[in-house]
């Protein structure tokens, strides 16, 4: 296997209701180190399911996922260890409402990476400073705006120092004026060389930041390529009509 491959997805299937609903219908894709992969497509196309399958939040019905060379769909693999290296950002932020921003960020590193509380706090404060939220460290999630919440959620994932970041429609739940601040953080992350998989409706972001774009429909990858191939020279009719609607 190629050493540069971060995640290798092999004929992944996710069926509901005894196969009547096929959320993923044989998806194969490779994500290389430093890749920024944007996954686009109409709703119900399976793009979120694919993303959530990558760290096994969705258990696939069939197929294999190799993360850093390990088949994490194997029942014997301790998925928790691998999830530590896969940061995930959710549409609804999913910050822990009963903890301060700082505590949100330091909980997992202290419990899992066996670093001291002080070290974790230092690391968290550095990250917060990077996104200009250091003064909000003691605040509770309910006291933050949507954009601030999502930035904290990204920093919480980064605090674990993951090798890949998964974004599940990170800007969909935000007010339009707050989308920019979140995308800026993601852009900076991408420029820093982070491997990212982003399910998004922000075509501008996909075009500008991603180096690869995947278009999905009905649980299948319809088209895959560089942003210019996908956005400027779409081959399939379905992609053409999709882009006509969203652009």
């Amino acid at each position: 296997m190629n050493d540069n491959i971060m995640i290798q997805v092999d004929d992944l299937k996710k069926h509901y209701l005894d196969g009547k609903v096929k959320a993923l219908d044989g998806v194969s894709v490779s994500i290389y180190k430093g890749d920024v992969v944007a996954i686009i497509g109409p709703s119900g196309s399976g793009k979120s399911t694919l993303l959530r399958s990558l760290n096994l939040l969705e258990e696939p019905t069939d197929g294999h996922i190799y993360f850093e060379g390990v088949d994490i769909t194997d029942k014997k693999v301790n998925i928790n260890v691998h999830r530590q290296k896969m940061g995930m950002v959710f549409q609804q932020f999913n910050l822990f409402p009963h903890m301060t921003v700082l505590k949100n960020m330091t909980l997992a590193p202290v419990k899992l990476l066996k670093i001291s509380e002080t070290q974790a706090k230092e690391r968290a404060m550095k990250l917060l400073e990077r996104v200009g939220l250091a003064d909000r460290a003691g605040a509770y999630p309910a006291q933050l705006s949507g954009g601030q919440k999502q930035r904290v959620a990204i920093m919480r994932a980064l605090c674990m120092q993951p090798t890949v970041m998964l974004f599940d429609e990170p800007t969909s739940a935000l007010d339009p004026e707050m989308v920019g601040e979140v995308l800026d953080v993601m852009k900076e992350l991408a420029l820093g060389g982070m491997t990212m998989a982003v399910v998004t409706h922000e075509m501008g972001f996909a075009r500008e930041v991603a180096n690869r774009v995947i278009f999905m429909e009905n649980g299948k990858i319809v088209e895959e390529g560089s942003p210019s191939e996908i956005f400027d020279h779409p081959k399939s009719e379905r992609l053409q009509s999709f882009l006509a609607k969203v652009l």
């Binding site: 760290n55 939040l57 928790n80 260890v81 691998h82 999830r83 530590q84 290296k85 896969m86 940061g87 995930m88 959710f90 609804q92 999913n94 910050l95 822990f96 409402p97 009963h98 909980l107 997992a108 419990k111 899992l112 509770y140 999630p141 309910a142 006291q143 959620a153 919480r156 994932a157 674990m160 998964l166």
Partner: protein, 478 residues
Amino acid sequence: MKPKDRKKKLLIEAGVIALIVVVFAVVVLVDTFKFKNTYSLKADEAQEILSQTLALIPKKQSKTANGIVDRTHFTVKSVEAGETREQILHCEYETVDVLGLYNQYKNEWFADAYAYYYSETNQSMVNSAKVRQYMDEQLLAKLDEAETKSGSIDIHVYELQNKPEGDAYVISHAGTLFRIYLSNDALNGVFGGMVTVSDDIKNTKTIDYNGQSVDIEKKNTIRTGLADCFGLNNFSSAKPDASPYFVSLWNDFCDDFYLNFIKGAKWTYLAKGLITTLEITLLSALLGVLLGFICAIIRVTHDKTGKMMIPDQIVRVYLSIIRGTPVMIQLLIIYFVILLPAGVAKFPSAVICFALNSGAYVAEIVRGGIMSVDNGQIEAGRSLGLNYIQTMYHIVVPQAFKAVLPSLANEFITLLKESSVAFYIGVADLTQGGLKIRSITYSNFMPLIAVAVIYFIIVMILTKLVKILERRLRKDER
């Protein structure tokens, strides 16, 4: 709530209390006015009432008593109307000194009586009634020897609204009913000290019989004194309460209160019971919450992941049994069927029962709480690499706990009240304390109401605390 609304609510509450106080005051005032003494006795009327009373006193009991009454003369010196419906008669009296006469002859009479019955029956058991009858006859025969003595007393005379049934000392005069009250001191003076001689004879233990002294064993002593002979013990010395209705109600209440709580320190039954109740409630609530959380987590884990099949089934059976049977039966079964044979004491048995009982209800409450925590929270925790238990412990349970805290507090309140069935296995809790007082004093009102009031106050305090807690939880994180 806005501060303005709070102020308004407080004002209304104060208004309601003020209204109750005013109504009560008006009722008491009207009552007092209504029963104010309006009838003034004249001296000759008072004299007549007294002689009527004297005529009523001893008739059926003894001839001697009649002799004494015949020799007793009252002169009413003055009449004074009391504050309420009471008239106080200041009387001069002249009577015979029966006590002196009695003391002079008692040993002689008693020896005679004893000797008579001893010779008749050859037993040292004496028939006290017959001895008294004999002594009564002797006293009557000597009555003329008694010295005359005089003194003055106050006699209380009450106007009555209605004639109480079977009361011998109620006189009708000029269309008004009167009740005469003689204190023990008054009785004693007028009737020659006959009240104080009661129990006198039991001190006589050795008498001379045919030249030899004979010990009368204690059991053969005559326990009742002469006052019995003359029927004076039937004379009510209980001062009737002539106060207005509400005042006498209050007095009755105070008496009842004294009888049920103060006398013999009976309040300690309630105090100790309350402590036991609180101990049972607190201990079983703590155990119950622990048990409830464990059960809830097992159930949720099974629902969400399909794991823990067998524990889940066990928990389900436990929940349906506890929720499907009355707590009292559970208590009786746990104590008498299971724990008593195993040698477990009552108190721990009660704690175990209530812990098991509340655990089942807490489990359902907590399960609801955990289910109400957004699934995204679990996903966020798991995506960071935390395992299921860590996610539950650090993320889900704290949030669920906050969400269900008010319900848990209510469960605690329910438990406090339910713990009252502990008396079925003889745990001396608050309820048991009340019932114990009830069985001693035979009053229902005071002990039962007291128990209810104590439960109520504790529940009110807890409810208030829960409200404060809820408010603080809502303030958090905002």
